[in-house]
Symmetry: C2
């Protein structure tokens, strides 16, 4: 294992009706900035439940709707102004990863001298934050129980992740009931997103990590046995529950202990969605199998374990490479079977855009990826294969 | 899944040499009560490394050695007096679960009006605690990353667990190197202890828990593939590393999310070791297979999963009950093969002692256990079968 530090102070409330405990978790809050996207939280019932809980506790709400998918730093800056002007003493995100990622920027930015984009870019360090709470309504990003956030600078078409202990939610409330109204496409995107998060952690080159690896395999297996049933029964609350919980575990740090994640595919996808504003997980569904094919010769046994323990493939008569390639095809078929896209051209992205994507992906740090370091040539190959 | 709350603020430092970060974690501490058992931490090198780290940071040490296995409330009370008299501002446990469990009592007791045994018995609530840090030198109890502690009242021969958010270590330091000198018997006890912790969580009756169950199965599989190798190569640091990490994951709350643990076997074992002062995990190794045989008809599929996914048994031609009983025999053989005891009579416990054990086990709460509620008759049967 790699030497590591783990710290995650987020208080998780999971299950039907847990939003009633919002006031006790927010004890001491007088006025809260309530951050959300559009109407989905009203359709799901989350909005009404949150409003009722806050009213009963006499916590004043300042509403800030309009957080976009791939949330923009301009929106975050406006919300920071609002938080300061209205002197809120907490931020509450109600929604999915976009609302929560934006709320992290708002909570940190409201207590920092520096501009939030300077914090995203690592040019300034946060030293404080407003207390942050979340009510999750979409199973996907895991942002509800980690210190990460991804923001987009719409002026420069840059999309980057940042991370700070100040960005941990104090408490997050996960009620599967609020996810029952998520439509099929976003349900599938969420499943692809959480599986991708596990793959980014599972494909590492660190030696002697059976405890973490076996847990990652277990969570993947649980998602795989649940996902097709859920896509066929979108209102089944038990299936929603499993997927909601899996999304949190996928990226709350449990599956990173002692390993070094890869995150190359995320980096390429961020370049794609910064330029073309496609759904993040649509990009991941398209790119991941191509990244996998490009690196399948690294650590053959890891692919064999994935094929046999997680995907249930029969290894007999196959060498490691055959099994690796079969596993990758299996995954691509599995995602396509759920309804995920499989080609960048489905979003109008073609050969003419390849160089812009490569340039954007290489811009921040040069060659990237831990499982295999990708150069511009590697990225070009992966993106071309994904067209 | 069961509705649940999860919260675990312990900062984990894992790997070779992490004790050098002790001063930054203890930032602001002037004088610390250093709690440990006997000479094992001197043989392992942990003592010297801790002393050096504290000296460099100019943190004054008040040493409190002599914590016994099955730590006693009388010892904890004396340490609380010492902590108050010397006005320490933190507690540092160096050792295994006994030192840490005692240190939790000391940290909480030093800041409470109530006697620590009243807190153990739930007659008083802690409202504060001294900051607690741990340097773990034995892979076993998981106490380094949870809020639980087990103390023994030597005056009344009672041994009970208690739990408080105030008992979470602020930070715990896990260096596999310090566990290389643990002798074979305690290495095996630690393995039995952590596997038992997972079983206590895995054998539940809650519906729809694949994410947690699969993780539990994965950690068990990692322990099972590592343990026999470690027992044959006690100084292998990679094997030590896996087992050290597994012990933490086994009881840091990850494997309890959404389930309701059983803990009946622990309750019976606490009765045994309160009366006879045998090693906790020796009692678990003896009792667990007999508890399993007594309840093997509950949730047949769970036993099938354990048999096939974790123990690798071949299900062909067997019905669920045959497979369950084969799995239980397999586990008993596995533990015996590592060198664990399998009979209470190995410790001089016989028929004459059965009623005292039953009475002690039933004393606190009456019938107990979630997977199957055990009456006095059930406990009598299990204990008799284990003689």
């Amino acid at each position: 294992m790699q030497n590591f530090r783990y710290y995650n102070p987020t208080r998780l409330y999971f299950g039907r009706g847990v939003v009633e405990h919002l006031p006790e978790a927010m004890n001491g809050t007088r006025r809260v900035l309530m951050v959300y996207g559009g109407g989905s939280i009203k359709r799901s019932g989350a909005y009404d439940d949150v409003v009722q809980a806050l009213r009963q506790a006499e916590i004043e709400m300042v509403e800030f709707p309009g957080i976009e998918p791939n949330p923009r730093v301009g929106t975050v800056r406006r919300a920071i102004q609002e938080a300061r002007a209205r002197e809120v003493d907490a931020v509450l995100a109600v929604g999915g990863g976009s609302a929560i990622d934006a709320a992290k920027g708002i909570a940190v930015g409201a207590k920092s001298e520096a501009d939030i984009w300077d914090i995203v870019m690592g040019r300034a360090e946060p030293a404080s934050a407003l207390p942050l709470y979340t009510v999750l309504t979409l199973a996907a990003t895991g942002s509800e129980m980690n210190k990460n956030s991804v923001l987009t600078n719409e002026a420069t078409a840059e999309k980057y992740g940042w991370s700070s202990e100040w960005a941990y939610p104090r408490a997050s409330f996960l009620d599967p009931y609020y996810t029952r109204t998520v439509p099929k496409d976003h349900t599938v995107y969420g499943i692809v997103d959480m599986m991708s998060h596990i793959f980014e952690q599972y494909f590492h080159t660190v030696d002697n990590t059976p405890v973490t690896d076996r847990q990652a395999e277990g969570v993947l297996a649980a998602i795989i046995e649940t996902a097709p049933k859920l896509v066929a029964n979108l209102e089944d609350l038990k299936l929603r529950e499993t997927i909601l919980f899996a999304g949190t575990v996928a990226l709350n740090g449990t599956l990173s202990m002692g390993v070094i994640g890869d995150w190359a595919t995320h980096n390429i996808e961020h370049a794609v969605s910064a330029l073309f504003d496609i759904p993040h997980a649509a990009g991941l569904a398209i790119l991941f199998p191509h990244w996998m094919r490009h690196v399948h010769h690294v650590r053959p046994k890891r692919w064999v374990n994935l094929a046999t323990r997680v995907f249930g493939l029969d290894p007999s008569g196959k060498d490691d490479e055959e099994l690796a390639l079969e596993a990758i095809d299996w995954l691509a078929d599995f995602w396509r079977g759920l309804g995920a896209p499989s080609r960048l051209s489905d979003f109008g992205i073609g050969e003419a855009h390849v160089e812009a994507i490569v340039e954007k992906a290489m811009a921040r740090r040069g060659p990237f990826g831990q499982f295999k370091t990708l150069t511009a040539d590697d990225v070009r190959t992966i993106v071309r294969n994904a067209l």
